[in-house]
């Protein structure tokens, strides 16, 4: 069987090769294509190729660039000559993932690959059309030498004042055809010359081997100690944040997410900076511990209560596993150049976030016991994932991942911890439960009105304490401070002074200091002296006998009166209704204004709302003469162009007869073939209105889902959306 195209190649390989291919490029089988032809089309499509290229390391990419700079078909030897002998292994990897395929006459690249890599791989210009005498390069005059030096490492294009009147150096090079004119002002260095100048290699430096990661050596025990401290801290942060929102829910922004002001409030409460706060908030959001309700309030969800009951290891696992796979990037919040990106908001997704995160963690995992030095880490990262498609933020993403991994305790002192390893390996995380400091069930109260929990407190105790005291310092221990305001808060929550005292006495290992006891008693005594409530109207009368009478009047029962002072009664009905009922019962009430004046005379009501008269819906206003004449001009112009087009179409369809019809895969295959062969085609093309027209075209290339081709009818280069091409046929 003749093997020339990529689909021919695919038809020839065995199952093992498919297995490798699909492992490396899972997008090829999501969804599973119907046949090999459509598989080949998908594998050769620009997005899929770009994805495959993303998975290459720097060395593999260099080899691919080298392959792309040779005319097809090419041999392994040619590539090795342009790079290093290690290229063989890289080439077979490239073949394995379908970026290069063998054909009968040598190796080839899928048609669109050059498109994806870019027109000038490794800064090389086009191959020369003419026969070049490369040996003459040695004798280039000084001026020409200078030009060559400028262009040899790319970009290969240079601008000249006027192509017809170039400087002596450029003139010499143009004459020798080493330089080729592109347009009036641009020249380009031909590929052969550049390679010759580069010493027969494509790249100045060939990064065959992965760079070594340098950094600080860390002691394993210290790493794990630091990591477990981080684990307990992050759990505490999340719990505190959600408890805070349970008390005072934050309002979501109209555009979604947490406002800067609320972020600041929370950050002050937690005592961490805003980027860390954003991270904690996102962490809780990812684990669905927090939700945004119908009133746009940010609140802990019911899942939070379940989460609280779990063991520390499970709680941590829930946070870390969501963080690992999310595409959301909390590091974006509050950056100087993007102030408005909000935590919990809709703008945090980045397609490459999870990929960079996974890569960063891989690199940490490959280098245990080392807290990477950032520059070295960056270099390694660049080798493993050279910056290409969706490369934006790659460095920042990696930096944030390192930071977040430390916050989470995946690392400790910057190096991967045993918890991190267990987590990434999918192992049991029981060690977290074992290594976390044991909870304590007591506090130490001191006479400066502070209480100290000398370790993590049991959940119920810390909840109760948080209600009656302010947290002053956090860490391994917690320092609580009692003030009048915090005691009042506990009283507001329905505790009595005695309950507070009993609770503290029971939980404290030290005797209760007298000043605190005094404080609690003092606040409890004053609490609730002033009473506040809602009511609609009041009835007052200096004659207490009359008040007693209306209180006992059966006819007034529907007013549900309540006597709050000897001379004052309140009522749930509004004043007008209350007066009506009183009058019906035979009393003689008078209205009273807000400042105590008697209101007499008939009350004529006025609306408090601003008047909003209904809008007039009627005839369209007469347009001005200018508007009319402009409209006519537009109409006339449109008409002219339609007329011209239909005339052209008519000519084309007369020449062509029947519209060609092919399936999508056939279309792609034929197009690819004709691009290589540079032959004229006839296609059916659907226009904006769905009408299908016949075009005669010279295909040039396929790019971004469109066919770039010269339309014979207009003589212009035009792009045709591939999905709109109903069929192709050779002419």
């Amino acid at each position: 069987m003749e093997m020339r195209s990529f689909s021919d190649y695919l038809r020839s390989v065995d199952d093992a090769a498919f297995l490798n291919l699909f492992n490396a490029r899972p997008d090829l089988i999501t969804p599973v294509p119907s046949d090999i032809a459509s598989l080949a089309v998908r594998a050769c499509s620009a997005p899929s190729l770009a994805r495959a290229i993303d998975s290459l390391n720097q060395w593999q990419f260099q080899v691919l660039e080298a392959a792309a700079s040779i005319n097809e078909p090419f041999t392994e030897k040619e590539v090795v000559a342009l790079t290093e002998k290690e290229a063989k292994a890289a080439l077979s990897h490239l073949v394995m993932i379908g970026l290069i395929y063998p054909s009968d006459d040598g190796m080839r690249l899928p048609t669109q690959l050059r498109e994806v890599i870019g027109a000038e791989p490794a800064g090389l210009g086009p191959a020369s059309m003419a026969k070049l005498k490369l040996s003459e390069l040695k004798d280039a005059p000084a001026d020409a030498q200078k030009v060559l030096e400028r262009l040899m490492w790319g970009p290969p294009r240079g601008s000249v004042g006027d192509i017809k009147n170039p400087g002596p150096g450029v003139a010499w090079l143009l004459e020798k055809k080493f330089l080729v004119p592109l347009d009036q002002r641009t020249v380009i260095l031909t590929r052969e010359v550049a390679i010759q100048l580069r010493g027969g290699k494509i790249h100045k430096e060939r990064f065959v081997n992965q760079p070594k990661l340098s950094g600080n050596k860390r002691d394993e025990r210290q790493v794990n100690l630091a990591a477990i401290a981080n684990v307990s801290t992050v759990l505490r942060w999340v719990e505190e944040l959600l408890n805070f929102w349970a008390d005072e829910p934050a309002d979501a922004l109209r555009a979604g997410g947490l406002g800067v002001r609320d972020l600041k409030v929370v950050s002050a409460h937690l005592g961490v900076d805003e980027s860390c706060t954003a991270f904690i908030a996102e962490l809780a959001y990812l684990a669905s511990l927090v939700s945004i309700d119908g009133d746009e309030r940010i609140l802990p969800s019911s899942k939070f209560d379940i989460w609280l009951m779990q063991s520390p290891a499970d709680r941590w696992q829930m946070l870390a596993s969501q963080w690992l796979i999310t595409s959301r990037v909390s590091g974006l919040v509050g950056r100087v150049d993007a102030k408005n990106v909000a935590a919990l908001g809709p703008e945090l997704d980045r397609v490459n976030a999870a990929r960079v995160r996974a890569l960063t963690l891989d690199l940490l995992r490959e280098n245990p016991g080392i807290a990477p030095e950032w520059n070295s880490f960056k270099e390694l990262l660049l080798w493993r994932a050279p910056v290409r498609r969706n490369s934006s933020l790659q460095e920042e993403l990696a930096e944030w991942t390192l930071r977040e991994a430390e916050w989470l305790g995946i690392t400790g002192q910057g190096a991967i911890s045993k918890f991190g390893l267990e987590f990434l390996n999918g192992d049991d995380l029981n060690s977290i439960n074992e290594d976390l400091p044991k909870t304590v069930d007591h506090i130490l109260i001191q006479s400066d009105n502070t209480a100290i929990a000398p370790g993590p407190l049991e959940h119920e105790i810390s909840q109760a304490l948080a209600m009656m005291a302010e947290i002053e310092s956090r860490g391994g221990a917690t320092v609580y401070r009692f003030t009048e305001a915090t005691i009042r808060r506990a009283l507001d929550h329905g505790k009595t002074g005695d309950e507070i005292k009993t609770f503290l006495a029971k939980r404290s290992k030290t005797p209760m200091p007298q000043p605190l006891e005094y404080l609690i008693a003092d606040v409890a005594k004053k609490h609730g002296k002033l009473r506040v409530g809602n009511t609609s109207s009041f009835i007052r009368c200096e004659d207490t006998a009359l008040i007693s009478q209306i209180m006992n009047d059966k006819k007034l029962e529907l007013l549900s009166l309540r006597r709050i002072a000897p001379e004052v009664v309140i009522c749930d009905m509004d004043a007008t209704d209350a007066m009506r009922v009183l009058r019906e019962a035979g009393y003689l009430p008078a209205g009273e204004s807000a400042n105590g004046m008697i209101l007499t005379g008939p009350k004529s009501n006025r609306s408090v709302a601003k008047p909003r008269p209904p809008r007039i819906i009627g005839e369209i206003e007469t347009p001005t003469p200018e508007v009319i004449s402009a409209a006519i001009r537009v109409l006339r112009t449109g008409e002219k162009s339609t007329h011209r087009q239909s005339k052209l179409r008519q000519v084309a369809s007369e020449a062509l007869g029947q519209l060609p019809r092919t399936t999508a895969n056939e279309t792609m295959e034929i197009l690819n073939q004709f691009i290589i062969d540079e032959k004229t085609l006839s296609i059916g093309y659907a226009d904006n209105n769905g009408g299908v027209t016949h075009r005669i075209i010279d295909p040039i290339r396929i790019s971004a889902g469109a066919l770039i081709a010269r339309d014979h009818a207009t003589g212009e280069v035009q792009s045709f959306r591939i999905p709109r091409i109903t069929g192709v046929a050779p002419l």
């Binding site: 100690l225 630091a226 477990i228 401290a229 981080n230 801290t233 005592g271 430390e406 400790g412 002192q413 910057g414 400091p437 130490l444 001191q446 006479s447 400066d448 009105n449 502070t450 100290i452 000398p454 370790g455 310092s473 956090r474 860490g475 391994g476 221990a477 320092v479 003030t483 030290t510 200091p513 007298q514 000043p515 005094y518 404080l519 004053k526």
Partner: protein, 549 residues
């Protein structure tokens, strides 16, 4: 995980469990670099601050020692961020050094050219510098030695001062320990200062700071200028020096509003130094009138701002600061650090108390209920008069009376802020009053009588806050204060903290009006005193009348 006595919190506070067997050892280890913030009965709180860490660097500790100490005593894992922060902060000290070069004079030398480049570009620094010598060295205008240290500290790059001191004119001074003995901590303090060159010694009131000063003078054996807060303090310094050292009356001069004596040892008041005549400081010449070998600043935390400015100009002389607290209400702790010097010695009050050098004190807050009329008057008072209104209520008088009566056998001081209130109290109690306008002569007579026990009760205004020595006051009753200022509190407590001959405990009453801002200020006071480790009680005025206390 060790079971150490220390818990390192993420907000850079250190909690020390003092009931832990290792707590004493741990306290010694962390004291050089952490500032004691409060020391109530069970857990003491220390704080890591840049100044504290730099103080430690100045005392020769490095970041590694600090980190090791934290890890060694910590009960839980120390947050990594804190370790990084400690190392980072400490490495900032000493990258810049002030040195004396035989050729170029005063120079700023660095071990890190990037830092030097950064600071010489700073707007505040550039005018203080002279010619660049090489990449690591630049000359500094000799007159700007103090200024540049101040500015560098503000930039966060404190310079180490190796430029040395002038010896000053030699003058023989010795301690005469005939009928008394210098206490071990006083000796340590003086030595700590001497080896450090310049710096501050922090000792509680009543712990004998004057003797530390005398010991430092005996080390220097040179002419000395002593700056004190007021004339009474100046006289007391003179008396102490005559008693404790080989100096005689002719060798000690007083430079105050009343006298202008300049002698080998001169004691000057802040007030006279900061007095302006026609808009200029008239007595600045004093700094140059002798080739002083040592300058002592009493009560550094009260040092007025102009004195800082003069101090900046005399950086080549040895400077000793004495104080009970480094806390300044005006937040000028950085100035003290850069101009006078780092902390060279400190020891918490409780420790000296435990050694029996100062009397244990008990603090009692007496809450007074206002009468209906007084409550109404308070509620309607203008905001600026409110404190005065509630601090001087009539009801307090009865309580004070009852307290004085109760302590009829003790030496009692009644302290207040407002003169009319004190006048009234003086009349009611039949006790003499010392206020600002009382002539110094009369003051001394009264103080002497109080000392001998001829007078049992004395009413004093805020003039008594500073540097007077009332050896046998066992009871202090505070009726009004300066809005609960912390240093005032330390001063007042210091009044009664001198060791008592019979070992009786001292009592510090403060009488406050319930449910007013007086009570809010009292909360600050309670916090401060309890943080210092004093026992603190709150009682109602009725308890006093019923004799329940």
């Amino acid at each position: 995980m060790s079971d150490g006595p220390l818990i390192v919190q993420s907000d850079k506070t250190l909690l020390l469990d003092i009931d832990h067997p290792m707590s004493v050892e741990c306290r010694r280890a962390i004291a050089p670099f952490a500032e004691l913030e409060r020391s109530p009965e069970h857990i003491h709180t220390y704080r890591l601050t840049p100044l504290g860490l730099w103080n430690a660097r100045a005392a020769g500790h490095d970041a590694e020692q600090v980190i090791d100490t934290l890890i060694k005593y910590s009960r839980y894992a120390v947050p990594h961020s804190i370790l990084i922060d400690v190392a980072e902060t400490m490495s900032r000290y000493g990258r810049l050094r002030l040195e004396m070069d035989p050729v170029h004079g005063l120079i700023l030398v660095t071990t890190d050219t990037a830092v030097l480049e950064e600071v010489i570009r700073a707007k505040k620094i550039a005018p203080l510098l002279g010619a660049r010598i090489d990449a690591e060295t630049i000359t500094v205008l000799p007159s700007q030695r103090g200024q540049i240290k101040q500015s560098l500290l503000r930039l966060g790059w404190p310079a180490e001062d190796f430029a040395g001191y002038v010896d000053g004119q030699a003058h023989e001074i010795n301690l005469l320990q005939k009928d008394w003995k210098i206490r071990p901590y006083q000796e340590l303090a003086a030595e700590g200062f001497w080896h450090g060159g310049s710096g501050v010694v922090v000792l509680p009131c009543g712990a004998g700071k004057t003797i530390v000063g005398a010991a430092a003078m005996a080390h220097a054996k040179a002419t000395t200028l002593i700056l004190v807060t007021n004339t009474v303090a100046a006289r007391q310094w003179r008396d102490e020096l005559l008693k404790r050292t080989s100096l005689n009356e002719d060798e000690i001069g007083e430079y105050s509003g009343a006298k202008k004596e300049i002698r080998p040892v001169t004691i000057a008041t802040y007030q006279v130094m900061t007095k302006k005549k026609n808009g200029v400081y008239a007595h600045l010449d004093l700094f140059d009138s002798y080739d002083w070998g040592l300058i002592i600043y009493d009560e550094v935390h009260l040092l007025p701002a102009p004195i800082f400015r003069f101090t900046a100009d005399i950086q080549s002389r040895r400077r000793l600061g004495l104080t009970a607290t480094l806390v300044r209400e005006d937040g000028m702790e950085g100035e003290v650090f850069s101009l006078i010097g780092p902390k060279r010695f400190d020891v918490p009050w409780k420790e000296i108390e435990a050694q029996g050098y100062i009397a244990p004190a008990e603090c009692i807050e007496v809450r007074v209920n206002l009468t209906e009329t007084e409550r109404l008057a308070y509620a309607t008072a203008e905001p600026e008069n409110r404190y005065r209104n509630c601090a001087t209520t009539r009801t307090k008088r009865d309580v004070v009376e009852a307290l004085v009566e109760k302590h009829v056998d003790d030496q009692v001081l009644v302290i207040g802020q407002y003169i009319d209130q004190l006048d009234e109290l003086s009349e009611v109690l039949g006790a003499p009053l010392i206020k600002g306008e009382t002539p110094v002569k009369e003051r001394e007579i009264l103080f002497n009588k109080f000392r001998t026990g001829e007078i049992k009760c004395l009413v004093v205004s805020k003039v008594a806050n500073f540097s007077i020595d009332l050896p046998d006051a066992t009871i202090a009753i505070q009726v009004s204060g300066a809005f609960g200022s912390r240093q005032e509190e330390a001063q007042r407590l210091g009044r009664i903290l001198r060791p008592k001959s019979d070992g009786r405990g001292a009592k510090f009453y403060s009488v406050i009006s319930r449910d007013t801002i007086d009570q809010d200020f009292a909360q600050n006071r309670q916090r401060f005193l309890a943080e210092q480790g004093y026992s603190y009680k709150i009682i109602d005025a009725d308890d006093v009348f019923q004799g329940k206390i």
